[in-house]
């Protein structure tokens, strides 16, 4: 799970300022698309592998990160194989995997609160009408509430199964959305209660 990925350690990557990590990540991803080719991708892959090792991530973390994306990567591979060829499909899928793992390096070495600080630092020159604190908090809440929404999803699915509704998308989505919105309401109140303006 994404939020399980923060690794408690004191590596150089943990100590690097979050703004720098986010900036390098954006630059790295851009370069992989600008300088398209196997050589660039291989170099990128090696760089990401080194960073993963440096940040203390183990093989099981890498597998856990890529597992949810397997079906999407497989679909991309099939479509690209059909539209272009297997070599290009392999290239696209490998590039996606490298991008996902590069993002993992950042989430594994950056606490959410540090990421918020990084986003705030990045937004410091934005015009005054830009709600900087709200944007930064919004990003952090997305990370925090992934497991919560997932647990609501499992609750709802089990409740619907108990009623014999195994494959009913509406029966699954409606309570999920309603409960998520209700939760969002209470979270907003809790944030307000903790002096967030």
């Amino acid at each position: 799970m994404l939020t399980d990925l923060y690794i408690f350690a004191d590596s150089p990557l943990h100590r690097t300022r979050p703004g720098i990590k986010i900036g390098v990540l954006v630059l790295f991803c851009t370069l992989l698309f600008v300088f398209e080719g196997w050589v660039t991708l291989a170099l990128g892959g090696v760089a990401v592998a080194l960073c993963l090792a440096l940040s203390g991530l183990r093989a099981r973390h890498v597998v856990a990160t890529l597992r949810p994306a397997v079906w999407i990567l497989l679909a991309i591979f099939l479509v690209q194989s059909y539209l272009v060829d297997i070599l290009f499909a392999s290239f696209v899928v490998f590039r996606f995997a490298v991008l996902i793992l590069a993002a993992t390096v950042v989430t594994a070495t950056t606490r959410t609160s540090e990421m918020v600080d990084g986003i705030l630092a990045g937004l410091q020159f934005a015009p005054s009408w830009v709600p900087k604190n709200q944007i930064a908090l919004g990003v952090s809440l997305c990370l925090r509430f992934i497991p919560l929404v997932l647990s609501v999803f499992h609750d709802v699915r089990q409740a619907q199964r108990a009623r014999g509704l195994d494959r009913n998308l509406t029966a699954l989505l409606v309570p999920l959305v309603v409960r998520t919105l209700k939760t969002a309401d209470e979270v907003a109140q809790a944030i307000h209660a903790r002096s967030f303006d």
Partner: protein, 223 residues
């Protein structure tokens, strides 16, 4: 410290949730009881300004207050999952303090002090969604305590807890030096309180010591 509700009413759309509440509260342990939908959660949310009166005023120590109520009154929700904002305990506890713009040293001192006092220092670097229900409720409480409010309001804080965690949590509440308001259906928890308010249909229908109010409440439920 005293909080006063002066002719406070709350309307949501066409529905009047609370009507003409006038009451002054200065006791250290106040319990709030009432049926589901009676308006007690809305009443509790008025204390720290999460809910705002449609008419009437809230007074803190005799002075009308609106925005600053939350600086003095903390709020612990029924479901700690909805109160914990960050994925790591330590950074969640720092959230409120950051909003108060406290220095890093002051923030760390307050967190360490509050966690030590409740005996949960070992949770400091844990992921919040991996904690048990009891641990999460404790973290939610510490998140409020570090802000050093003068009063803490609890909205059905033990509903999701097992018997052991419930007793531990209530013992913690009883040891708090702050003024405490607890909304609860668990009447036994409120027996030792100084004052009990019984709310029905948006009005305070009984107000007094626990023995008389709770016994009448139980008797009315058996009619």
């Amino acid at each position: 410290m005293n909080i006063e509700f002066a002719d406070v009413s709350v309307k949501k759309g066409e529905v009047t949730v609370l009507q003409d509440i006038s009451i002054r509260l200065s006791e250290r342990r106040i319990g709030v009881i009432g049926r589901n939908g009676s308006g007690k959660s809305t009443f509790a949310r008025l204390f720290n300004g999460i809910e705002v009166p449609t008419s009437g005023k809230m007074l803190l120590d005799g002075v009308p207050e609106r925005k600053n109520l939350r600086r003095h009154v903390g709020f612990v929700f029924q479901n700690p999952d909805n109160q914990i904002v960050y994925p790591i305990v330590e950074e969640d506890l720092a959230f409120g303090l950051k909003n108060l713009k406290l220095s890093r040293n002051e923030t760390e001192d307050r967190i360490a002090d509050a966690m030590r006092r409740l005996g949960i220092d070992h949770l400091r670097n844990r992921l919040t969604h991996q904690l048990s229900g009891g641990e999460k409720q404790m973290i939610a409480l510490v998140g409020v305590l570090v802000m050093r409010p003068r009063m803490i309001v609890f909205d059905e804080p033990t509903t999701l807890l097992d018997l052991w965690n419930k007793q531990k949590f209530m013992a913690t509440i009883n040891d708090l030096p702050q003024h405490v308001v607890v909304v609860s259906h668990d009447l036994e928890l409120l027996r030792g309180f100084d004052r009990i308010l019984h709310i029905e249909a948006g009005r305070i229908v009984a107000d007094g010591n626990p023995v008389s109010v709770l016994d009448n409440y139980i008797a009315s439920s058996q009619c």
